[in-house]
Amino acid sequence: MADYKGVLICGELAEDKITTVTKELTNTGRRLSDDLNQPLSLLLIGQNIQETAAEAISFGADRVFYIAEGLPFAESLPEHYVAIIASVFNQIKPSIVLLSHTDMGRDIAPRLAASLGTTVCMDCIELEIDADSKSLLQTKPVYGGNAMAVWVSVNYRPHVVTMRPRSASPAQSDPSRKGQIVPITVEIDESTIKGKLLETVKEEAKGIKLEEAKVIVAGGGGIGGSEGFQLIQELAQVLGGTIGITRVPCDEGWMPTSLEIGQTGHIVSPDLYFAIGISGAPQHLAGCSGSKCIVAINKDPEAHIFKEADFGIVGDYREVLPILIEKCKALRAT
């Protein structure tokens, strides 16, 4: 086990740029590497990314491995990624392999761990090196977020770990940082690849992306139907924000699934989050508990959301929202 050293981050790119979640991983990875006194490596896959690789050094990587012939994840098969990461792993033998808990990470990490014959912990929100044992303490929400579990691996390396987006702040660029950029090639045995990706369809969000929104007005089962979401939309608009939903409006077909916030949807952290007609299930809070300020509007004074909010009104949203909208409109006019 002592042969395994350092941290390897499997990075993600969007339009040849390092994504925010990868910067979050870099921040965490840097801290773990420093605590272990071992190097931090970052793996990037994509064409024309030499410049991006250089930039990655400024975010804290000691070494950036890049593979120029690969396609970005959205256009590539998970089998390819697993083969590439496994090959890089065998070249550098890190003791920790970090991925984000994204569309890519949640698919790749279990396959990778199974193929390397090691262990894996999914959707962690905290990683820490235990000062005495030097083992990696992996904290992850369980039971939908009702509880937290702390795991350690027993005699298996590497630790494959995915981290929940927004559970760490992104690494900041420091152009004075020095590091190594290592182009590598990987042989993939195509006969082992069984699937085919026919298409990837992205429903581009109109307006503000949930992950980037400063204000989110979210509506839940209490809204009662698609008409009610007009008020939600209006409030979002006057506040310069965007709208989100819980599982219920998706399941009921009131609103598109792509707006769902929570454990299985978007993870957001706006400055201001309105939870309207939302009971406050842990699976929903998993997606919004990082918000700076949470405002709950619910007609049930016992609703759990009031235990997780900063401000609340007990009342019917149909009464509250028109007034909020009008008052905010008036404010904007002045």
Binding site: P110, A147, L239, L272, E319
Partner: protein
Amino acid sequence: MDIIVCVKQIPDPEIPPSKFKLDIESKKVVPPEGIPPVMNPYDEQAVELALRLKDKYGGKITVLTLGSEATSSIAKHALAMGADEGIVITNKAFEDSDSFSKAYILSQAIKKVGDYDLVLCGRQAADWDEGLVGSIIAENLGLPLVTLAEAVDVANGKLKVKRVILDGYQVFTVPIPAVVTVSNEVGRPRLPSGWGIISASQKQIPVWSVDDIEADSSKTGASAARRKLVKLFIPERERKCEIIERETTAEASIELVDTLIKAGAI
């Protein structure tokens, strides 16, 4: 098309947070009193997806559940929904198995079932939220895998699988047999029919143990686990809610805006 669905029994994941209790010492979740356990919701959606495929192409649906004899109730539920056969896998040696051991046990059972075109699992079990077993089964059996499916169809002798991603979807084709993990976007599972309940109640649920599936018990149980739970706790709440109360809801609403301005939130 012959389909195997792996289903797990879990404590009801939608109980109010106030009813959720832990035994910190033993690092275990205390089952909520008076609230019966359920089939993992994603597994119920996997059964639903299997039934849709059966409706279209015919074939047989077998559900496998690793647990105790008591978990036969969820196998019965799947039968009542329309599945053809249910099997419970249980043994002392299987208790406290980690995801790798569970996947090993289920893989052995799948081999024993023998004929199948598709293995369905839920995307994750809503108790420990691991999301591992389906993927490891695929690796164990050397089968192609697509995760997070919302729809599966057959085209040109292959499976065509629609995979959910955060802001859209992907379409994969994989040869048969394959493993697919199922997401909630499949939609509501059907309710058992009256006839389904009656016919399910008359069916036997075979119980398989170590020898039935030729399992090597050194690969199962707590001693084989690759990971150890060091702590289980309920997270502290960081927020204190200020409820804005006035004579009328309208006044409270106006006050809320002022409060938010003062707090610098708008």
